[in-house]
Structure formats: structure tokens, C-alpha cells
């Protein structure tokens, strides 16, 4: 008989907004579930971060079938203005 694969749930928090995973996905083991979380976050980062306000934090919490948290994976997007001395190379470009 085929062995039943464990089901993992991937809840997302996007700054303060929480999206609970209603159905979960089957994966052979936790490492594959982690790959799924990483793939999802990088896809989301591509879409969400450039339009988001800074700082933006996306976190996926991986839970088991009883909804116990197992791991979390996160991406933080932050813009910083850096006042100060321009680089040597920048200065030389601007000088006549």
C-alpha cells in the first residue's frame, strides 16, 4: 500500500496581514516543504517588494497536520538612504 505523505501548511504574514493556508500541501519530508516555502517567498518577493512600502517583511510559517509550527522562512525588504561622502569613482565621473 502506498504510504500517505505528510501534509504541511504554509501560513503567510505580509507585514501585519496574515493569510492562513486553508488546504496545505503534501510533501515527502520537511526539507521539501522548506523548498516550497523558499520558492513561494522568492516568487512573492519578485511581485510584492518593489510595490511595497519599506520595510516589508514576508514570513512563511510551516506547520504540520496538527498546525504546530515547525519552521519559519522570511524575506525582509528594506530601503535605506545613505547620506555621506560619494565614492571615489562617482567623484571622478563628475569632475571635468
Amino acid at each position: 500500500m502506498e504510504q500517505k505523505m505528510p501534509r504541511y501548511f504554509f501560513d503567510l504574514s505580509d507585514n501585519d496581514k496574515i493569510f492562513l493556508d486553508p488546504e496545505g500541501s503534501e510533501a515527502e519530508h520537511l526539507e521539501l516543504a522548506r523548498d516550497e516555502a523558499v520558492r513561494t517567498l522568492t516568487e512573492m518577493a519578485k511581485d510584492k517588494l518593489p510595490e511595497g512600502s519599506s520595510p516589508r517583511k514576508l514570513i512563511i510559517t510551516i506547520r504540520d497536520e496538527t498546525r504546530q509550527p515547525l519552521e519559519s522562512v522570511s524575506i525582509i525588504f528594506e530601503l535605506k538612504s545613505l547620506p555621506g561622502v560619494p565614492l571615489e569613482s562617482d567623484r571622478s565621473e563628475r569632475l571635468p
Partner: protein, 239 residues
């Protein structure tokens, strides 16, 4: 029952009585196929072309065992495997997503049609051109829209195709695909797909009851998805 293929072709031009009769003869031996069955397999050399009368199918490329990319979704009336008539060795596969009713048309019969019925031949040719314009659109959407708009675009496109075929009305239809299957269409992770579904619902752009999708505000969804149906070439004109 109206002949689904005749219905499909009549989206683009008026069919003569003779053409309608010929199309009726073409679907005389329908076959029922269960869901998740390969109708066409990559690498094979089919001698007949599959025509879909009822249900949903997907055209796909295998990436690795167990992983595949869907490159098209086919609905009732699509002569989805007209490709194999001239391609010969298949570079892709086609599988049923739901229980389907199909007809297998021998290639020899297609040869006869192309030799004796030039107008019908042009219309069949057009359907394969539209298959490629859908591919073109998918490619453009994948490269230029974010995941949420990409998904919204697919929901718009599927509705327009189903409604042109007369199998969906009132901005409501069944999208009988699992999130893994949608993931194979959109090229996004299944978890991401679930999240996009929730996001579209929360924005009020769609309502979802299991596989039943309702679009409460068509202009809002179409605008959001940058959907323009020109590429589907729907409309009767001399071809």
C-alpha cells in the same frame, strides 16, 4: 445537442449546411475518458487527432518525472490535437483534467477534408493559429504581469472562451483544477497559487465556491488583469 466543434468554428465564420453535416459525421463515435488520462503522449506518432467534445484538457511538457509545465488549457469544442496531423512526432502530451468526451479523427479523414473543403480547412487552420496566439499571450503575460494579474488574466481568458462556446454565462463557470494543476499553468508554487486565490477573493475580484468561480464585476477584473480579448479572434467574418 449542438455539435461542439461546429459551435467552436461558428465563432469565427458562418458554416454552410454541407460543412455542418460533415462536422456532424465527424463526431459520430464519441468516447468517454476518465480524468487524468494521457490522450496524447510526448514522443508518440499518432495516426488520429483528438477532438474534445466535453470537459477540460491540458497540453503539457514534461520537465522531470512528476513535474510538468502546462502550456495550454483546452475546453469543449477544441480540436486540440489537430497539431498531430502535421507535426507527426509529438513534442508534448495532452491529458484530461476532468472526465471528458472525445472523438478520435483519423488523419486520413483530415487529409480528405483539407483536399475537398477549403473553407473548413481555413477555419481549422485558424483554430491552430488561435492556439498560438493564446501561447503568445501567455508568454507576454508571464513576462510582464505579476502573479496576481497573471492569475486574474487566466480567469478572464477562460471565461471568455467558455462563454463564446456557450458553456458559461452570467460571469460564472467551473474551473475544475487543483492548485497543483494551476501551479503547472502559472509557473508558480502551489502555495503561492493558494495565496493568490485568497488575495483575489479578498479584493472582491472573484467569488469562489469550491471549483465554481463567479466574477462579480467583469470590468474591474478585466482592467486589473489588463485583459483584452482581441487575441482570441472571436467574431464571425469571412475567412
Amino acid at each position: 445537442m449542438t455539435n461542439p466543434l461546429a459551435r467552436k468554428l461558428a465563432q469565427y465564420d458562418v458554416l454552410s449546411e454541407e460543412e455542418n453535416q460533415l462536422l456532424d459525421e465527424l463526431i459520430e463515435q464519441p468516447e468517454k475518458i476518465v480524468a487524468h488520462t494521457d490522450l496524447v503522449s510526448e514522443g508518440s506518432r499518432p495516426t488520429e487527432s483528438v477532438l474534445l467534445l466535453e470537459g477540460y484538457c491540458a497540453r503539457y511538457k514534461s520537465i522531470t518525472p512528476g513535474k510538468r509545465q502546462f502550456t495550454a488549457i483546452h475546453i469543449a469544442g477544441d480540436f486540440l490535437d489537430l497539431h498531430s496531423f502535421l507535426i507527426k512526432k509529438m513534442d508534448h502530451s495532452v491529458l484530461t483534467l476532468t472526465p471528458c468526451v472525445i472523438v478520435r479523427v483519423p488523419h486520413a479523414r483530415l487529409t480528405t477534408i483539407t483536399e475537398r473543403h477549403p473553407h473548413l480547412t481555413r477555419l481549422l487552420w485558424l483554430t491552430t493559429l488561435i492556439d498560438s496566439s493564446i501561447h503568445r499571450q501567455w508568454l507576454t503575460v508571464m513576462a510582464t504581469l505579476d502573479g496576481l494579474r497573471h492569475f486574474a488574466h487566466l480567469i478572464c481568458e477562460t471565461y471568455v472562451r467558455l462563454s463564446a462556446q456557450g458553456v458559461a454565462t452570467d460571469y460564472r463557470y467551473t474551473l475544475p483544477m487543483t492548485r497543483d494543476e494551476l501551479s503547472a499553468v502559472l509557473g508558480l508554487s502551489p502555495v503561492h497559487v493558494s495565496h493568490l486565490f485568497q488575495d483575489l477573493r479578498q479584493r472582491g475580484l472573484i467569488e469562489q465556491d469550491d471549483s465554481l468561480i463567479t466574477i462579480p464585476d467583469w470590468p474591474a477584473l478585466a482592467t486589473f488583469a489588463k485583459f483584452d480579448p482581441t487575441y482570441l479572434s472571436i467574431g464571425q467574418e469571412p475567412r
